[in-house]
Symmetry: C2
Subunit: 220 residues, 2 copies
DNA sequence: TGTACATCAGTGAACGCGCGTTCACTGATGTAC
DNA sequence: TGTACATCAGTGAACGCGCGTTCACTGATGTAC
């Protein structure tokens, strides 16, 4: 993060510690009132400091949010990396995703929910989400092959033309298709679950999620 | 809405007109800055009136939001009703849903996006979303039957136990399953599309949506 | 048709709040000799 | 080990802003006789 391999001075240690403490309070606040209600002053007050003090640690509100978003992406990437450590397994990635999302719903929603108005994600995240995608593509490519290619769909053709996002990953069209389905379908269930859209219905989102993941894990 | 069949006095007409004008400005504002930035004062200013004037028409900010949410649900229910008019067709409902969502993304996100912190939906909407669900279930029940019931899944068992949400609709388990998949899968694509998560990837969300809808429209 | 009264839309001032951010300043911590 | 200086964390006051909401009031619109 800071100088590579540099020994940290006590002041650097202290700075880093306060920064993470600020971020922890920020997450708590987001969990309570949503990302759009993030307030530097409120964080400072809860830390027992006066508002302007935080400007020693963050250039402003936007930089804080940027840090939180980047941290969230990094955390998800790490979770995926860990989950796929013992062999690329779509089901394992799915369960890891759900666990990660439920562990801190607002962190998930900060990335995949309705975007914070007027805020644009930093460039760092594209690299991180590329890594996430690569892990997912590995797992999809490792799936047993479909019962003889099951005829190229119109979507396959389109994906062949636009596979920049796969970042050079040598995956079959079917794997690309499945990775996207993994992403959109699981997000569909998770997003509705986290937004509380199942609560009134008596349905257990876990079962829905499991069913979708099951369909994704086995050949067509 | 007002007295059933009552002739409207000029004043009632005027009130109704101003109310809808306020709501129109509210939608514009939501489209620009998101639902959490909705401000009565800002709306009043843009209408050329002073802030407190709006309290003649709405009890407060919360009532305005409630109205907007209810209107959004009603609008979607109407769209579904119209789309299924000429026979219940899953594909038609899917296209109607996407058209409705793209017509006003923030209206879609107000309902299905990250919930506005501290706001809870009114009771009216449960009736409306029941109607929406019923339309969808009709369409799913009308689909050609699967190749001999394809073995009851664990999800089927769970759905049998919790079909209150289906509101007494006499649908086969497979139809319940499909209705939920319709909802979660299409929401997955739409939500990511509206949040701009495909823009950097060069993928056409319409094709993804079409592929998912296609899979939903044909037997397993 | 005209007058007296009630209704109600809209205004402007005010209250209290919290926000992001700047600035000059104090006091503690670290560094150099 | 001690002194002189630089660095930097944190404070408090201040600026300007917009918010939701209340209140007493003006002026226009409708109603009753």
């Amino acid at each position: 993060m800071t100088e590579a391999g540099a020994t940290k001075t006590p002041r650097e240690r202290y700075r880093a510690q306060v920064r993470t403490e600020v971020k922890e309070h920020a997450w708590e606040q987001i969990a309570t009132a949503g990302a759009s209600a993030l307030s530097l002053n409120a964080i400072a007050k809860r830390m027992g400091m006066s508002g302007p003090a935080l400007y020693r640690y963050f250039a402003g509100r936007d930089e804080l949010i940027t840090e939180l978003v980047t941290d969230a992406y990094r955390s998800l990437a790490g979770t995926f990396r860990a989950a796929s450590g013992a062999g690329a397994d779509v089901a394992a990635l799915g369960h890891a995703l759900r666990g990660w999302a439920l562990e801190d719903p607002q962190r998930y929603l900060l990335i995949y929910g309705t975007p914070v108005p007027g805020y644009h994600a930093p460039d760092d995240v594209t690299a991180i989400s590329s890594e996430i995608m690569a892990t997912l593509l590995d797992a999809c490519a490792a799936l047993p092959r479909d019962s003889e290619d099951s005829a190229a769909t119109p979507l396959d053709a389109h994906l062949e033309d636009h596979r920049d996002w796969a970042d050079g990953h040598p995956a079959r069209p079917a794997a690309l298709r499945r990775a996207l389905a993994f992403w959109t379908r699981l997000h569909g269930v998770l997003s509705l679950e986290l937004s509380g859209h199942f609560t009134g219905m008596g349905i257990d989102p876990a079962q829905l999620f499991a069913a979708e993941l099951d369909a994704l894990s086995r050949p067509d």
